[in-house]
Symmetry: C2
Subunit: 338 residues, 2 copies
DNA sequence: ATTAGCACTCGAACGTTGTGAGTGCTAGAG
DNA sequence: CTCTAGCACTCACAACGTTCGAGTGCTAAT
């Protein structure tokens, strides 16, 4: 009973089930997959695979379908496919004429959802260390202010803060001038202590503490992490795989973002080229019938951002992995040269 | 055959069908609705209503369900319900501690989707005429620039433009200073001609035409109209009304925005307090089984922005209309006092 | 180790039948 | 002229039984 053939059987089952969405039986395998053995032999192998928990049968007299563990084994043993040439071209043409960071992200997520025919998810790139170009402070009412930080690498961060106490126009303008003097030309790391010093120097400035805080986080690129998604309708296309009512929770989770972000972070921590989470591996009820294929882009270590595709566990893993990897690579290039 | 009773029958059919999602028959109506007549009489009325095209039967021996026209008649004759007290409180508490325009919009859309148990849609408020506070220009590479316009009412608009030709740092800084001098303190209407004059004065400035254009549209509040939506999972809850595969196109249309924006504009043009589009009235395949309840907020005439709820034609119109109106009113207050 | 053969299982598809909700119509009462 | 009672009729739907066949596990032979 060769180990190799058993793996081949598993792969054939996965591929068959993915493409037809029907349980695959021993006879069908013997006919279509070219394993050179009879259906009886395949049945034996299947029994062994079932013993290992890699495949299961939905009911007694049906064929086999892969379990989450089966998909996992399959994914770990398969090199991600080469991307089809037309898809490659699509990536180049579609992303190259983006005008704007927002535009790049938006285009990427749409592109990825089209390539994979799944729901695509793209996290906004984490900003790089770059000089502050200008801080704009606008007084709104007597105790609130708008803080805008413009960085040299063409990012604009804004936030609204409530001041420590009511301030006059004059006080406000003075502080704004001073903060600009201290800040402009510095990078986030050197800027934070400098601002703290200014803040301490004169008790008069106490009210500006929230502003300083906002400037610092703004210079770092803001605190809010965001993901955008596209292709939600692909979930309905797969509605037979999911029981139909499994797609509601997924939509909620996509809108909620927080769970999704947690998962993406976990996947980033794995530090692989392309990482895959299958069904229950996500440890989330909403995603218990869903797989996520994700890759990092635009940096390494903490600076990495993520993008990925998300769909039913019964998905074309090699193809999806190839598309995700390709878009991630291309996006890395764009973000770095921008 | 009293006209009034016939209307009552129609209303009873709508209400019954909305709450049970099953066709309602003459006998059931005679029992539950207190019309004081027998089922036979109701049958006669039903025949008349069917003649008018207001109701239909899904198959021969079934009860009646309202047609789009039936819902329309119903909606036109029903005063929108009073909002329930807990809902009223929810609006106040949920929206009052928003920190930010973005935050307001985001909270509104979530709130509305919860109140109506439908998909909620909120358009970003159209900006009001307000002074330009500062224009920040950042040179990116040799022929591109980032344009940031900060308005006195705490808006920040940014865009990236490609310059007419390569420019040096010095040229660029000069132009930036000049543009600020001309622009700051002016409102969009007075600002545009002033900038044009500056542009004409010296052929040297020709390359800056795209920048000027960006400043003008930025001051006006940008060109891109955006809507955000929330509660997409409510579509799946209603999946029995829709045939399940009708929700895909709706999701696509929501992501696409353009169709949705067109519809909202059309509805704004009707100029009613709350306007309702029912099923085929939308004139869009994607929304042919979907109703939209929308209201304007934050201004009048062209300045109005829209928000609304969107769900299957079999929807609780009075309740939805009440919620939409209430949120719109509250949002108007917030946007105006901001 | 592999294969052919065989008995067995059980879901899906199909046909039949019964049931009841709902209808339209007619004739009579107010 | 309006309403009601009564009745025959229609037809989706559920329940039930049957058949069919894909797929299995096991055994004995190669």
């Amino acid at each position: 009973m060769s180990e190799d053939r058993r793996r081949a059987v598993l792969h054939a089952i996965v591929e068959g089930y993915v493409s037809t969405s029907e349980p695959v039986g021993s006879k069908a395998l013997a006919d279509t997959a070219h394993l050179g053995v009879s259906s009886a032999t395949i049945r034996n192998d299947m029994a062994a695979l079932e013993e290992e928990g890699l495949i299961a049968q939905p009911h007694t007299s049906a064929g086999r379908i892969p379990t989450d563990a089966g998909y996992r084994r399959f994914v770990d043993h398969v090199a991600s496919a080469a991307l089809q040439a037309p898809h490659k071209r699509a990536i180049t043409t579609f992303l190259s004429d983006a005008v704007d960071l927002n535009d790049v992200v938006e285009r990427s997520v749409r592109l990825l959802s089209q390539l994979t025919r799944q729901v695509a998810v793209v996290q906004y790139p984490s900003p790089r260390e770059s000089q502050v170009r200008r801080v704009e402070l606008v007084r709104i009412g007597v105790d609130r202010a708008l803080v805008v930080v413009v960085s040299a690498d063409a990012r604009v961060e804004q936030s609204t803060v409530t001041l420590g106490r009511d301030v006059t126009e004059v006080e406000f303008e003075d502080a704004a001038r001073a903060i600009n003097e201290v800040t402009v030309g510095r990078t986030p790391t050197t800027l934070a202590p400098a601002l703290e010093v200014w803040l301490q120097r004169d008790r008069q400035h106490e009210w500006a503490a929230p502003v300083v805080e906002a400037v610092i986080t703004g210079a770092r690129g803001g605190t809010v992490e965001r993901v955008v998604f596209a292709g939600a309708s692909n979930l309905t296309r797969a509605a037979n795989d999911f029981e139909t009512d499994a797609i509601g929770p997924v939509l909620d989770a996509l809108e909620e973002q927080v769970v999704l972000l947690r998962l993406l972070h976990e996947m980033a921590a794995e530090g692989r080229d392309v990482s895959v989470r299958i069904g229950a591996e996500n440890g989330e009820d909403a995603f218990s019938r869903t797989s996520i294929v994700a890759a990092g882009y635009g940096g390494s270590g903490d600076a990495v951002s993520l993008l990925g595709a998300l769909g039913p566990t019964r998905m074309d893993y090699p193809g999806t992995m190839a598309a995700v990897r390709a878009v991630a690579r291309y996006l890395s290039r764009i973000v770095e040269t921008e």
